[in-house]
């Protein structure tokens, strides 16, 4: 018996009971929709994370003052234990490091005309822009000369530029940062959100030395708030972290048993945390998907059993005119698989719509891949085979004369 005919017969059988077929599919539809949504959320999240990582820059190690306890709490966070000399030492002595940059951070008011804006002010060196692969779209960036001469110039992040200048060009204008006048020399490229969800464009950059002298209170103007290091390549990331640790331990006279006064953080660790939360979301959806697929599968099995009973006479007729056991088995299996495949296709559509709506409303990133659609499609077929087998076996096992006599 040819396959096309089998499909035709099973589609006709499903058509005669449209409502029932649809209700039976519902479990599969919901389950597959959840699978699609799960994969969309999962891959959407990892896409965004990789985008954000790229927005910070790759192969980066952060060195921050204070130590980390096992609970992850930072102690002595206020301590200013890192200096510009540490930056120089790391650059010259750590062989796996390509660039190092010290920064200081402060928050404060920026005023232009009668507008003002509270933002983060970062003192930076040209190395920092290189590490973060972040340039200026308008005007120019901060140069080593700006740093050396501690000139009062600043670069505006996109958010700050828009807040203070609207669509006008800020370059060349004077803004007041913490009441000190600074000349705007440029506007930074847009970066978007950081992995922690903060707006990276809501910031102002000034030369490091300018910030050390005028904007932050510290014991020594040489102090820096954080150190950003770029490893030569990804493979050397861990090696670089080791070198920094041992160099700084030595420089800060941290001997065995003593708590270090700094902490290094590898960006891939931050990435791992972000991925964990998207994994949790995927797991939740995965649980919903598997439960509803199992329930849906049982529903299919149930309806197929009912269908076999209802159509006992039809089975008898088919056997009487020459259907083999296998023909009957195939007929009911095909029917179950058709049911789950159609359910699967509807589920894929629903999942795609759902994912799009979710990403629009909750601004949760989603990405629907051909791969996930293929997986969902074949998975729904497999459910049909699994749950359709028992009823089909039951139909094929009927005795022709009993089936024909069935009332």
């Amino acid at each position: 018996m040819d396959f096309l005919q089998t499909i035709k017969i099973s589609l006709r059988a499903l058509r005669t009971n449209k409502m029932r077929s649809f209700l039976t599919m519902l479990g599969i539809i919901i389950g597959i929709a959840a699978v699609i949504a799960m994969m969309a959320v999962g891959s959407g999240a990892s896409y965004v994370i990789s985008q954000q990582i790229a927005s910070i820059g790759s192969n980066i190690i952060l060195v921050i003052p204070g130590s980390t306890t096992s609970g992850g709490l930072r102690t002595g966070g206020g301590a200013q234990t890192l200096t510009s000399d540490d930056v120089k030492a790391i650059t010259s002595e750590c062989r796996s490091v390509s660039l190092a940059a010290g920064t200081v951070r402060s928050t404060g008011q920026v005023v232009y005309g009668n507008l003002n804006w509270a933002t983060v002010i970062t003192g930076a060196t040209p190395e920092m822009f290189e590490i973060r692969e972040w340039g200026a779209t308008a005007g120019r960036s901060i140069t080593q000369q700006d740093v050396d001469s501690a000139s009062k110039v600043c670069l505006l992040g996109q958010t700050v530029a828009e807040s203070l200048f609207g669509s006008a060009d800020p370059v060349g204008n004077i803004v007041r940062i913490k009441k000190i006048p600074f000349t705007v020399i440029g506007v930074m490229e847009r970066k978007g959100q950081s992995p922690q969800g903060t707006d990276q464009d809501d910031t102002i950059f000034v030369p490091l030395r300018t910030a050390q002298r005028n904007l932050v209170r510290s014991q020594h103007t040489n102090n820096i708030g954080a150190l950003m290091v770029k490893a030569k390549n990804e493979a050397l990331l861990d090696k670089a972290e080791e070198e920094i640790n041992s160099l700084l331990n030595q420089r800060h006279r941290i001997t065995n048993g003593k708590e270090p006064d700094f902490t290094t953080r590898n960006l891939s660790e931050i990435l791992a945390v972000a991925q964990q939360s998207s994994k949790a979301m995927s797991l939740l959806l995965g649980a919903v998907a598997s439960i509803s697929l199992i329930v849906g599968g049982i529903g299919i099995m149930n309806i197929m059993l009912v269908s076999v009973t209802e159509r006992t006479r039809e089975i008898g007729i088919r056997m009487a005119i020459g259907a083999r056991k296998n023909d009957i088995l195939m007929q009911f299996m095909t029917e179950a698989v058709m049911l789950t495949l159609i359910g699967g296709l509807l589920g894929i559509a629903l999942g795609a719509i759902g994912a799009t709506v979710v990403s629009k409303i909750l601004s949760w990133p989603t990405l629907i891949s051909i791969q996930s659609i293929t997986v969902a499609f074949f998975f729904s077929g497999a459910i049909g085979i699994f749950f359709g087998f028992y009823p089909a076996k039951k139909a094929a096992g009927l005795n022709p004369i009993d089936a024909l006599r069935y009332e």
């Binding site: 008898g316 088919r318 056997m319 009487a320 005119i321 020459g322 024909l404």
Partner: protein, 234 residues
């Protein structure tokens, strides 16, 4: 003449829990190629039980059954399915057509299981429907056909695989006398064209179309009378 059916001491014992009932108590007979046999007998005498065994739908409890010289008792399920498909045509009292299925597709069904391609199937089925006088009704569903027409569809279905034996269990049981006459004329014509027919009936008028009458009583054959080779009444 070669024997199409050769039955020797067939018994059929039904077991229902505690109760047992022997519906056939040692039946033996032979049907030769080209014969038209009517089986008669009181209700419950075992006619249908015997027909189902001949039709390979039900196995006998004991005895030997050769169909076209082949020992049916030794065959497995698939072989029996193929025998039903290729050597036998079955016509039932209740027509047994598939619901919501056009006449032509009902007729095609044995060809589907015989593995014949869809185009060829359609041609053969259309011809079979024409043969039983149903040209023009090919695409009617069973619910859109009269009883006589439904039985013609069933006959076309039984004939479509060119079986060596046509079995009919009370084929006119649900039909009025005019339609009965039409169906019997069709059977007679089919028999004349060389098809062997075994038919169960309660009516003597109908049995008279056959050339030979077997009478059952309580699981035995009590008479086997020849009224001459296809004694037809026109």
């Amino acid at each position: 003449m070669s024997a199409v059916i050769s039955i020797t001491d067939i018994r059929r014992l039904f077991i229902m829990g505690e109760q047992q009932f022997e519906a056939l108590k040692g039946v033996s007979f032979t049907v030769n190629k080209g014969e038209f046999v009517a089986i008669m007998g009181a209700s419950g005498s075992g006619k249908s039980t015997c027909m189902n065994i001949i039709g390979c739908l039900d196995p006998p409890t004991s005895g030997r059954y050769l169909l076209d010289g082949l020992d049916v008792g030794r065959m497995d399920g698939n072989q029996l399915a193929d025998i039903r498909n290729k050597k036998l045509g079955f016509v039932f009292q209740g027509f047994n057509l598939l619901a919501r299925t056009p006449a032509v597709e009902n007729v095609e069904l044995p060809l589907v299981y015989a593995g014949i391609g869809s185009k060829e199937r359609r041609i053969i089925a259309m011809a079979a429907l024409e043969q039983v006088g149903l040209a023009g009704k090919e695409f009617n569903h069973s619910s859109q056909l009269s009883g006589g027409q439904q039985q013609r569809v069933a006959i076309a279905r039984a004939l479509v695989n060119k079986p060596s034996l046509l079995l009919a269990d009370e084929p006119t049981g649900n039909l009025d006398s005019a339609t009965t006459e039409e169906i019997m004329n069709l059977f007679t014509a089919l028999n004349q064209s060389g098809i062997t027919i075994v038919m169960v009936t309660h009516e003597h008028d109908v049995a008279a179309f056959a050339g030979r009458q077997l009478t059952f009583k309580d699981g035995h054959i009590i008479s086997d009378s020849q009224t001459g080779p296809t004694d037809r009444k026109d």
